[in-house]
Symmetry: C2
Amino acid sequence: MADKHALLMIPGPIEFSDNVLKAMSHPSVSHVAPAFAKVFGENLTLLRQIFLTTAPDSQPFVVSGSGTMGWDFVAANMVEPGEHVLVLHTGYFADSFAECFECYGVQPTQLKAPIGSRPSLEEIEKALQQKKYKMITITHTDTSTGVLSDVKGVSALVKRVSPDTLICVDGVCSIACEELRFDEWGVDVALTASQKALGTPAGLCVLMVSGRGMQAYQTRKTPPATYFASFKRWLPIMQAYEQQTAKYFATPAVQLVYALNASLKEILQESMDTRFKQHADASDYVKAELTKMGLKQLAVDPAFAAHGMTAVYTPNNMPVSEWMPKLASKGVVFAGGLHKEIATKYFRIGHMGVSVLDKSRGDLETALTAIREALKEIGYSA
Amino acid sequence: MADKHALLMIPGPIEFSDNVLKAMSHPSVSHVAPAFAKVFGENLTLLRQIFLTTAPDSQPFVVSGSGTMGWDFVAANMVEPGEHVLVLHTGYFADSFAECFECYGVQPTQLKAPIGSRPSLEEIEKALQQKKYKMITITHTDTSTGVLSDVKGVSALVKRVSPDTLICVDGVCSIACEELRFDEWGVDVALTASQKALGTPAGLCVLMVSGRGMQAYQTRKTPPATYFASFKRWLPIMQAYEQQTAKYFATPAVQLVYALNASLKEILQESMDTRFKQHADASDYVKAELTKMGLKQLAVDPAFAAHGMTAVYTPNNMPVSEWMPKLASKGVVFAGGLHKEIATKYFRIGHMGVSVLDKSRGDLETALTAIREALKEIGYSA
């Protein structure tokens, strides 16, 4: 059982199960030991179930790093210098992903929406008709704003008006809590990090690439300008591990791989559909309670609101620097604002993984009670 | 106490102390929490002691990844496309480092030596006189061969004949077990990974860059072609954390950072000089015992042999595929060969960290006994 600690209700790192934390202290094992190769291989196979892909040419990657490094993998391997990418902007993370593309000589065009909103399908269609884009990127849940993108709708649109355009989903705050049907929706690459709804401590970058996505890499004209974040180096390693044999490029994070295994097995005790619904239900509940408290969400339409987190304006426009300590004094840790234009005016609540699924923990109630008490303390009422 | 497991005596990952493994299962904490920022900041400060640098403009980096990613940091930030780098070759890892430079458009020239040997100071001097090199790279201990480079001698030579050339030490298998005096020897960048003599599970890339090294980055003419492995992105983060305040670029591997803290504090209970001597003494002992057993080392001269590992030819030219299972049956895990030309003909023994320092574990004796028993089983005698 995890030591007593302040409940962590931020949009990642999330709370981890005792099993996962126990796996983190796995005794030292060689990264090429058969027992370890088996666990690594299992992870890759289980990730196919998490992403809802059965296509044999889908390719999972698990590499030491972070979600941010997933952008390097995409920008360095799947698109080439001079090519154009349409970046749908729903918050901070689109700006950063666009910067990442620029590092690799790729030309991003951002399609922006007001804070709390998202580009409409009509605007996206218009943009796709104006230029030939090699790739479109969708931040499924932008962790800075809690805005949810309509990946299904956007993917269908892309298939209709620009079918050659690769579809990239930044799923850092969505994979394993938000509905994503990799095969059915025709996604070409979805990336995430271990410390969000995958329920594993930070330190792993996770990607799923479609057969078409790998094809784009294999037929590129210029070599990728990266050594570590390279499909070329990691593909044979992932293929070997999924066969449960070891191959060396760089030493994987052995203990994190064990922890991921513990978490993936916990996650897959129920169907992904059940898991998506449990997160949606918990999110509806949290959001309804926050509304009852008189707090206003950033998402301007309930359909634009993510299910793994909620971004909420502070009461009475209280500066977040004043509001956060009041919450912290209740023994629960929330996150401050991250979108630079309004960072001082809102806070963020994470509700993913065991905090949602393991009702015996009572995490949601503890979090909501902390907010209610802090509001009471400042005499705020709905 | 770590669960019962086969003793791991490979040149990384090494065995970890119970304290370090316990820190790995630290309850979830926000990557921007003050308590976490304090621990991360301490790590950066303690690393200065590990690298023996007191120069205020030295800059430590700790980033999720692996030792291999340290090459990307060097190649992408400290040298520019078209510039020349002299790569001293003492095994497999120089080939890979050279490939990494090529990915970034940098021109590596490898100076090779026969297996088990290293380029002489005379050869290096000649090479430095033939071309203007922006950087020279030295693999301190090549993990594939166990060959030790003379970093002190090479550095002094570079200062004399090509003082503008930056000195890069790949210290993956040397930092914290092999004598390295960052300031005194004038090293500009030394990189390592957590799972070797730093005694922390795999998943962290660690670098120390000199003021001159940072200057080379700051005055470059072309922007670095990387997003994640970028000084630009990580420098403000490291500066903030060392001030024990948090700043966000990508979520750090929180639990690994706690584990590194536990290990660095254990390491620094004694002086680095004592630690170097303890590793040298253990290495001398292991090598003497192996010689008594009639086993021949790869290093052609004792002065060329690393102190954190030993590479040894199999008895009677037995294929390593036959020899390794015999060792494994004794409950100790060693590593096979890695240098492609002779991979099937030798094996490797790691002796770093707690296996050397914590005599109560008896790891060295257990390892040597396993080898003795395997030799007895095949009827081999010196």
